[in-house]
């Protein structure tokens, strides 16, 4: 289960406005990737391009030998059956209750009997913690519940690729933490390739195997979590640590004067890399890599205190003075 998504040379323009140019990356099969970026850098557009809702100007998106960006409508509808997508507000069908919403893909695409459908729907509803709310309508429930219901619907056809658009927007921190844990557990259970678009720093530091950063109309960096979290690259360090110092300004990018004024300021030291969330049952995921492995293999010293190790007292002391 799980399949690669190969994106090569993707460029999208709306009129003369470039959204991003020459985006090339591969979402590794069965791993969780997070796409980050300041607001308005086209993260959602990228997500919609990957499912073929938006056609890019150039480039290709290869999934199991089909180029989603340039294939026929018929192939597109076939390939989309591999996808599960969770939209920002859940995108539940307002005319149906939650049960019918979750059952909808099964009824449209499979010849399963109603009792089989009932079993699958109830299983997914339980997974996202919505048992008992099957007969509510999307308009009657909270945003968090809509999101979880959307997740149940995205999971019902056992997708090989799960795309998630801002799972944490409008959710409280506790619900976000539960949702993050759910993604990890799900990834372990179904081994699908995950792509999560977010700008919640905490989620992106602890959930994914890979992180990508869209900035200034291009893909600034894409790679293993530890590579980005230990990166000294100003844009990456600034965004992943939510700081004002760095090249990203209030309006997308700072102008030259501001940058010059800041040039003498040192970037603050990187905070420790937190441990990745592990599945609740304690067993490893297929895409999981041991903490610190990437840093050791590439000779990078992670910031002190990373992966939950104790900070040497002397070092902390010397930093303090």
């Amino acid at each position: 289960m799980g399949t690669d998504v190969g994106i090569v040379g993707l460029t999208k323009q709306f009129g003369s406005q470039v959204i991003w140019r020459d985006v090339t990356l591969t979402l590794p099969a069965g791993e969780i990737s997070v796409m980050l970026g300041p607001s308005g850098t086209g993260k959602s557009v990228l997500l919609k391009t990957i499912i073929g809702l938006i056609k890019p100007n150039t480039g290709s998106v290869m999934i199991q030998g089909t180029d989603i960006a340039n294939c026929s409508e018929k192939e597109l509808y076939e390939v989309r059956k591999l996808f599960g997508v969770l939209f920002q507000d859940g995108a539940m069908f307002g005319s149906m209750d939650l049960y019918d919403n979750v059952a909808f893909p099964l009824r449209e695409h499979t010849k399963k009997s109603e009792s089989e459908i009932r079993n699958i729907v109830m299983e997914k509803m339980e997974l996202v913690g919505l048992l008992g709310a099957e007969n509510k309508f999307p308009g009657e429930i909270s945003g968090g519940m809509r999101k979880r219901a959307g997740l149940a619907r995205a999971l019902v056809l056992d997708p090989e690729i799960l795309l998630v658009d801002e799972p944490d927007s409008g959710l409280d921190p506790v619900r976000t933490a539960y949702l993050n844990q759910l993604f990890i557990d799900l990834n372990q259970a179904i081994d699908a390739t995950f792509l999560i678009v977010t700008h919640d720093i905490n989620s992106c530091r602890t959930v994914p195997d890979n992180i990508g950063l869209l900035y200034h109309k291009h893909l600034a960096m894409f790679g293993p979590r530890e590579m980005l979290l230990s990166s000294e690259e100003p844009v990456v360090a600034q965004f992943l640590n939510a700081q004002r110092v760095g090249p990203i300004g209030m309006s997308e990018e700072k102008d030259a004067d501001e940058l010059a004024a800041e040039s003498h300021i040192e970037m603050p030291p990187l905070p420790p890399i937190p441990k990745q969330i592990s599945p609740t049952n304690g067993l490893p995921r297929r895409g999981e890599r041991p903490a610190g492995q990437w840093c050791r293999e590439n000779g990078v010293t992670p910031p002190p205190g990373s992966f939950g190790e104790a900070v040497p007292v002397a070092q902390e002391f010397s930093q303090g003075t």
Partner: protein, 257 residues
């Protein structure tokens, strides 16, 4: 400047492409029978009462005008026929068009607009379901079917309203009114009315769906889409009505000639 000129052309082009998509999706299986029936019932619900209420005064006004005019010519015996002719050929389809576009079309545009901005349509496409085949085709067919029925209803209510007006208020004789029915009117008049209703239903459904599915910019976008769809449909239906009428007059000779 060129962009400004291109905008309406783009809308028209998009609409034609949309009609082609519907044409293709029309033959895709499985046909959405349940959606078709639900939508037909929904359209009946939103249009039937206003249609009845509109068609009575419509028939009466025609009877009033025609009756008065015909009296001046001294041809009272043809009042019934003239009134039937006017209702069957023009008033029926026009009243149908107004209600189909105003009541049913606006409801469809609003529904699609809301679905569009809530990303429901995107979600549907991502689930591997073509919204045109799943939602638009059943609505278009339902609209055409109900338009034909409404046309029949407007015609009957209109003629009956004309009868009441002519006989009770204008001192016409029931016998003369009924007997003259077939003096000028003929069966092709009714076919023409039916064809008009079919075309109007189709256009209203297509424009409403197209505008709704292309709504953008949040809740205001939905309002704009509904507004534009009603205005565009009205204009389109009246223009198309003119063309069908003139075509009909050219093609079908009047009775007795």
């Amino acid at each position: 400047m060129s962009a400004r000129l291109a905008a309406p052309a783009r809308v028209a082009g998009g609409l034609f492409a949309f009609i082609l998509d519907i044409g293709v999706a029309l033959f895709k299986r499985p046909f959405q029978l349940k959606e078709f029936l639900l939508q037909a019932w929904f359209i009946v619900q939103v249009t039937i009462v206003p249609t009845a209420l509109v068609s009575i005064p419509f028939g009466a006004v025609i009877a009033l005008q025609v009756g008065g005019l015909i009296k001046q010519f001294g041809a009272q015996s043809f009042t019934g026929s003239a009134s039937v002719l006017a209702v069957v050929r023009e008033a029926g389809p026009i009243a149908t068009a107004l209600l189909i576009a105003g009541a049913a079309g606006s409801a469809i545009a609003a529904d699609f607009g809301a679905r569009k901005i809530r990303e429901e349509l995107d979600a549907m496409m991502v689930l591997g379901i073509d919204p045109i085949q799943r939602l638009v085709v059943p609505r278009t067919l339902a609209m055409m079917l109900i338009a034909v029925f409404l046309n029949g209803m407007v015609t009957i209510v209109g003629v009956a309203g004309g009868y009441v007006f002519n006989v009770i208020l204008q001192d016409g004789t029931p016998g003369a009114y009924l007997a003259s029915f077939t003096a000028l009117a003929q069966l092709p008049d009714m076919y023409q009315g039916l064809i008009k209703a079919l075309v109007f239903g189709f256009l209203a459904a297509v424009v409403a769906s197209y505008k709704g599915m292309n709504a953008k910019g949040g809740p205001k976008g939905v309002g704009d889409a509904v507004n534009e769809s009603v205005v565009i449909t009205f204009v389109m239906l009246f223009v198309v009505n003119f063309f069908i009428s003139s075509l009909y007059i050219q093609l079908v000779p009047p009775k007795g000639m």
